[in-house]
């Protein structure tokens, strides 16, 4: 069982950065005259988090110094688009910190959203029937919104917004309902569902997200603790996403249905 830590860090951190960018952009557009300095710092954090995610993804490669070649197959591969989108997004996030323009912020948020979309496509391969659907897309978007809203409370001392709370609630629901549905699916899906539901890491992750949701809903606990709980929860469930999803090739020669 491989937890694919570089991919776990890459997906979680880029989703966190995209969520931050989307909320920062939204606030810049609805309230353009508010305080500038905390917002600018938040964009610096956004770029930094995305950059760390991109560096983590290099650790997954057998040839990290040739990573630039991942841009070659833009005509066919969603992974090429994902790499391009997140590279541009990271550069733009830093640029917004220096230039501080609403138009650039909007562009960064849109490109981040494109990155999330391509990420949802990349991690839904046909070899894994349980996630060869809209599941990764939904989980990645909900993670981005929940993490983005939660992180901004740390950086900008902002209050939690309803979107962040709802995303957390929906994330828990999707993470618990999907494996239950897989149990009534094909052999590979059923095995995936069982692996997820039998995994201590999965339940720990789900409970941590639930705790973060309850704490934000009732406004209990420190902001750092709430964010740490949510981040660890998303991180743990993402580890199971990469390690506990069964590949069709693992059942070769065995009965399928």
């Amino acid at each position: 069982m491989s937890f694919e830590f570089p991919l776990v860090f890459f997906t979680v951190l880029t989703q966190l950065a995209c969520g931050m960018a989307i909320f920062l952009c939204w606030r810049m557009w609805i309230n353009p005259d508010s305080d500038d300095l905390p917002k600018r710092r938040a964009w610096l954090w956004t770029g930094g988090v995305a950059a760390v995610g991109l560096i983590a993804s290099l650790c997954h490669l057998g040839q990290p110094f040739q990573a630039y070649m991942a841009l070659i197959n833009l005509g066919a591969s969603s992974l090429s688009w994902e790499v391009l989108a997140f590279s541009c997004f990271t550069a733009l996030a830093f640029l917004v910190y220096f230039v501080y323009s609403r138009a650039l912020a909007l562009l960064a948020a849109i490109i981040g959203a494109v990155g999330l979309f391509t990420q949802g496509l990349t991690y839904a391969p046909p070899s894994m029937p349980a996630i060869n659907n809209v599941f990764p897309m939904v989980v990645f978007w909900l993670s981005a919104i929940a993490l983005g809203a939660s992180s901004l409370t740390l950086i900008r001392s902002a209050e939690y917004n309803l979107a962040g709370r709802l995303a957390m609630c929906a994330l828990i629901a999707v993470l618990l309902i999907a494996p239950s549905i897989w149990l009534s699916g094909s052999t590979t899906m059923r095995e995936t569902g069982l692996l997820w539901l039998k995994s201590g890491g999965f339940w720990c992750g789900a409970v941590l997200i639930l705790l973060a949701f309850v704490a934000t809903w009732f406004d209990k606990g420190g902001k750092i603790l709430r964010f740490a709980s949510l981040f660890c929860g998303v991180f743990l469930t993402r580890m199971i996403f990469f390690s506990g999803t069964v590949h069709t090739a693992s059942n070769m020669g065995l009965p399928f249905n």
């Binding site: 197959n73 066919a76 090429s80 790499v83 070769m252």
Partner: protein, 185 residues
């Protein structure tokens, strides 16, 4: 012209000669295999004589590795063979994750992915692939899917993932039920 492997499961005895011939020809590392022989589970073939699936890359009609690879290291030739270019591979393993048949394999030593290319260099020279030559029972052969018509050939035997959109080119002749001499079926 579309090349494909044809496995007569009735003839395959699971000796792994095909896998060894491939490994020897390409001088693969000890942990690397491009062709693997999978025994069929008893639930599928409940007889004392076993049946096997000898599988490598299926050189699919719509190969998912070609679209998954971000460096365009996979190309599909006009004759259907899917060739992997190791020179441009960056070892991202997206093809390993994406192929439903587990054909591309990652070599941690090389930091790159490898897979069967149906010995296209040998085929171009008018020779048979090494696995076909290594098969002692003649169970594994090469066919041209465009003009090969034979009764009883299946694309998806039991124990083999059904992927209609991808359409793997490998074809199978199913093993017959064992006959007990002196007993009428």
């Amino acid at each position: 012209m579309r090349y494909a492997f044809l496995l007569d499961m009735g003839k395959c005895i699971g000796c792994r000669g095909c896998a060894m011939a491939c490994k020897n020809f390409y001088n693969l590392e000890p942990e690397m295999v491009w062709r693997q022989v999978y025994p069929l589970a008893e639930a599928i073939y409940p007889h004392s004589g076993r049946a096997f699936l000898s599988l490598s890359c299926n050189h699919c009609e719509h190969p998912v590795c070609v679209t998954a690879c971000p460096t365009a290291s996979y190309t599909q030739r006009a004759d259907g063979i899917v060739v992997h270019n190791m020179e441009t591979c960056i070892g991202c393993q997206n093809c390993v994750r994406s192929c439903p048949y587990g054909a591309p394999r990652y070599s941690a030593t090389l930091g790159k992915v490898q897979k069967c290319g149906m010995c296209w260099e040998r085929l171009d020279a008018g020779l048979l692939p090494s696995c076909v030559l290594g098969c002692v029972t003649g169970a594994l052969t090469i066919i041209n899917l465009d003009d090969y018509v034979a009764p009883g050939i299946v694309q998806y035997p039991a124990g083999y993932p059904v992927m209609k959109k991808i359409s793997p080119s490998t074809r199978f002749i199913l093993p017959k039920e064992p006959v007990m001499y002196g007993v009428k079926p």
